[in-house]
Structure formats: structure tokens, C-alpha cells
Amino acid sequence: MNIEVALRELLHPIVRWARRKSPWVLHYNSGGCNGCDIEILDTLTPRYDVERLGILKEASPRHADILLCTGPVTRQSRDRLRLIYDQMPEPKWVAAVGSCCCSGGVFQGAYNVLGGVDHVVPVDMYIPGCPCRPEAIIDGLARLLELIQ
């Protein structure tokens, strides 16, 4: 038993390094205006080249490490967001991209909107902006990676 604990201690820095160097992201729009989605697409284009940081956009929740959310959570997309979050394997992180996703933004108080994405899933990094620049998204992701233990 002690050997297992010691081995885990020994491997921990390597695992942490690998997790910081290989974050695969999944993108989900829970009801936004598409502005932040275009900025996320910008971030993934050759001009910004996030593959330098090891960031790959995955299509399946089962392959992803970080959920990139955009837009406020509408009542209709609440259950889908929860389902996608639950499908992702542990350990997982959530980054809220854009003002609406952080707090509900201009849609706050609307009859069909719950508010920010933190009403449904735990958020690890808030990236405000309307829409936020690709530089801001990259900076937010880089800071999120520093938090990974």
C-alpha cells in the first residue's frame, strides 16, 4: 500500500506536466449570440496556432479535458450542458468565455435565461469580454493550465 502511495507521489509531477501540456478542448454554445464562438474559431485558426500549447479541439466530450462555454444558459440548453459536462471524463475543467457566459450579461433577467454558466456547472476560469479577443481566450486558457495540479 505504501509503495502505491510513494509511486503516486513520484509520478505526480509527470502527470501534472502531461495534463498541462496536452489540454484538449470541447466547445459548447449554451445560447449565446455566436460572437464569442467566432472568436473561439479565430483562436483555433493558424494565425493564433494554439497547437503550440498542445491545445486541440476535440469533437467528442469523452476525449476532452476543458469545456469552453459561450453564451448565457437558456432553459432549453440547461440539460444538454449538464449532459455534456457529465460525459466528460475526470479530471475536467470549465472555462466560461464571454460576458454572457460569466454572468448572463445583457440577457440577465430574461424569462428564458438562467444566467451565467456557473448556475449549471462549476467554472474554473472566467474570460470576460463582449466578445472577448482571441488573445484574451489564449491568456485565460494559459492561466487555467497553471491552476492544474
Binding site: 496536452s22 476535440e58 469523452r62 475526470e90
Partner: protein, 305 residues
């Protein structure tokens, strides 16, 4: 023998090659697109990260089969690698080993289909079906293109085909058409970019592998990367065997250079061609590639006698 199986040209060497080829491939694609690309340790970081993640499976999936399939794919590729020489060094060889290698290299396609079939999910099943359809389109031209060198040299052993090329010249020079067909077939076999129909991200999420995560996904990726390495090594042996032209240079770096050149071909193809539809691939495979491959074999019979 154990050294050959485990270290060179066996498991450890192939693992190293899988990581190096994966990195070189992604880096070349990045350069084609005018970006920098991932750092050199990227495949290693990916490979370490995946097994440390949670191993999820949807309800209703047989856990034993799901765990066995990626291992089976990896085992088939590793067994095939035993008979593929690397710079003239080979673990085992007999008359007819080319057929065994081709059979073992087509097993991963079957496991890939089964992985989609057992996963309870629309995208997985669709991806699995597409992979089978693709298999029937590329495999026949690929087999005939690879049979070309065997017909030419009059032997079904990879070592004798290499030796035949040492006496004459490169297989790719004598049968350029066959080489092109073999490269197209290899792209289909590896499900690489112009022919990545079974795992097209914008259509079927990740195909058969949609529901796989954690260490199973790591094994799938490793078996794919190793299949790339073994497939490229096979083509180097069949079409760029040792030639008198390179006798002055040591065999190993020359072999590596040839393998990387074929990888460059594959990366170029994925950079410049858009994905085909499945019906276009079936058309291409049966109307164009298969008759051309037959033509090449007939020509080889004429030359080789």
C-alpha cells in the same frame, strides 16, 4: 531474438518511431498551414495524459470487449512489425511473410468497425459502417499494388523483394503507378486526412472512437500511430529497397530518410486535398484504382516474366 523483438527493430523502437512520426507529421502539416505546430514532446504528453483520465463507458457496452478491442488492434500491428525489416534487420522471415503482414495489417480495420458496433451511439455505429465501406474501397487496390513487387521479383517474402531491388533498382522506379496506388491505399488504411471519412469530425464526431476515453483511447491512438509506422516501413521495403546507388552510406539513416519522405507525401496529401465523400471513394477505388492496379500487375508479369 528477445532483443530484436523488444528493443530493435521491435517494440521500443516502434514506440519511439510512433512518437517521432506523429510529431513530424503534425509539425509538417502545421508548416504547410503557415503555423508553428506542437513542440517535440507533444505526442509523449498526450500519451501520458490519456491513461490518467477517467475510463468511461456508456451503459450497455460490454466492458470486456471494449477493453480487448484496442489491445487486439495493437497486438495485430505489433505482430505484423515482426516480419517487416528495418534497414535490413528483421526479427523473423519466411517465404510468404508478405501475405501474413497484409492480413495482420487489415485486422485493425475489423476491430475499428467492431468498436463502433459495440458502442451504443449513433455516431459510433455510423463511423463503424463507414469504416467497413472504406475498407472495401481501398483494400483491393492496396493489396494488388502491394502484390506488384511480389509478382515482379517472383517471391512473396519481403526480404527477397528487397534483395531483388538490390540487384536491379528501386521498385518505385520500375512500377511508379503501383507506388502511387500503394500510397493512396495506405492513406485509406490509416484513415488519414483526405480519406478520414470514418472519423470525420464535422460529420460523425469521432466515428467509432466517440465513446472511448482514458487508457482505451490512448491504446487506440498508439495502435493508429504504430500502424502508420509499420505501413510506411512496409512501403519503404517494397518500393525503396536497398539499392547499389546508396551503398556508400550506412543503411539505417538512409532507411529513416526514405520513411520520412513517404511521411512527407502523406502529410502533403492531407494538407492539399479535401475529404472525399464515401460514394466518391467507392467510385475512385473500384472504377479507377483497381483497374490501374490490375494494369500494373499485368505490366509486372510482362517485365518480370
Amino acid at each position: 531474438m528477445l532483443f530484436k523483438l523488444l528493443i530493435f527493430p521491435g517494440f521500443l523502437f516502434l514506440l519511439l518511431c510512433a512518437f517521432v512520426f506523429d510529431w513530424v507529421d503534425r509539425r509538417m502539416l502545421a508548416r504547410f498551414q503557415g503555423r508553428v505546430g506542437p513542440p517535440w514532446y507533444q505526442p509523449v504528453a498526450d500519451f501520458i495524459k490519456l491513461p490518467t483520465k477517467e475510463d468511461t463507458l456508456p451503459q450497455g457496452v460490454n466492458a470486456t470487449v471494449a477493453a480487448a478491442l484496442p489491445m487486439l488492434a495493437l497486438a495485430a500491428v505489433l505482430t505484423a512489425s515482426v516480419y517487416v525489416p528495418v534497414a535490413g534487420v528483421v526479427s523473423a522471415s519466411f517465404e510468404g511473410d508478405l501475405i501474413v503482414v497484409l492480413f495482420l495489417l487489415s485486422l485493425p480495420a475489423l476491430t475499428y468497425f467492431l468498436a463502433g458496433w459495440i458502442s451504443v451511439g449513433v455516431y459510433s455505429i455510423l463511423g463503424g459502417h463507414r469504416s467497413l465501406l472504406q475498407y472495401f474501397s481501398y483494400e483491393v487496390p492496396f493489396l494488388m499494388a502491394v502484390a506488384g513487387p511480389a509478382v515482379l521479383s517472383g517471391s512473396w517474402s519481403i526480404a527477397s523483394i528487397v534483395a531483388y531491388q538490390a540487384q536491379t533498382t528501386w521498385g518505385a522506379v520500375m512500377q511508379p503507378l503501383g507506388f502511387v496506388l500503394a500510397v493512396v491505399g495506405l492513406i485509406g488504411k490509416l484513415k488519414r486526412d483526405p480519406l478520414d471519412i470514418p472519423k470525420a469530425k464535422s460529420e460523425v464526431v469521432s466515428g467509432s472512437l466517440t465513446e472511448f476515453s482514458g487508457r482505451k483511447l490512448a491504446l487506440w491512438r498508439l495502435s493508429m500511430n504504430m500502424q502508420t509506422v509499420v505501413g510506411i516501413f512496409l512501403l519503404v521495403n517494397l518500393f525503396f529497397g536497398e539499392s547499389r546507388f546508396f551503398d556508400v552510406l550506412p543503411a539505417f539513416p538512409v532507411f529513416g530518410l526514405k520513411a520520412l519522405s513517404i511521411l512527407l507525401l502523406l502529410a502533403t496529401a492531407s494538407a492539399i486535398y479535401a475529404r472525399l465523400r464515401i460514394d466518391q471513394l467507392a467510385d475512385l477505388g473500384w472504377r479507377i484504382l483497381a483497374p490501374l492496379a490490375l494494369l500494373q500487375i499485368l505490366a509486372n508479369v510482362g517485365i518480370g516474366g
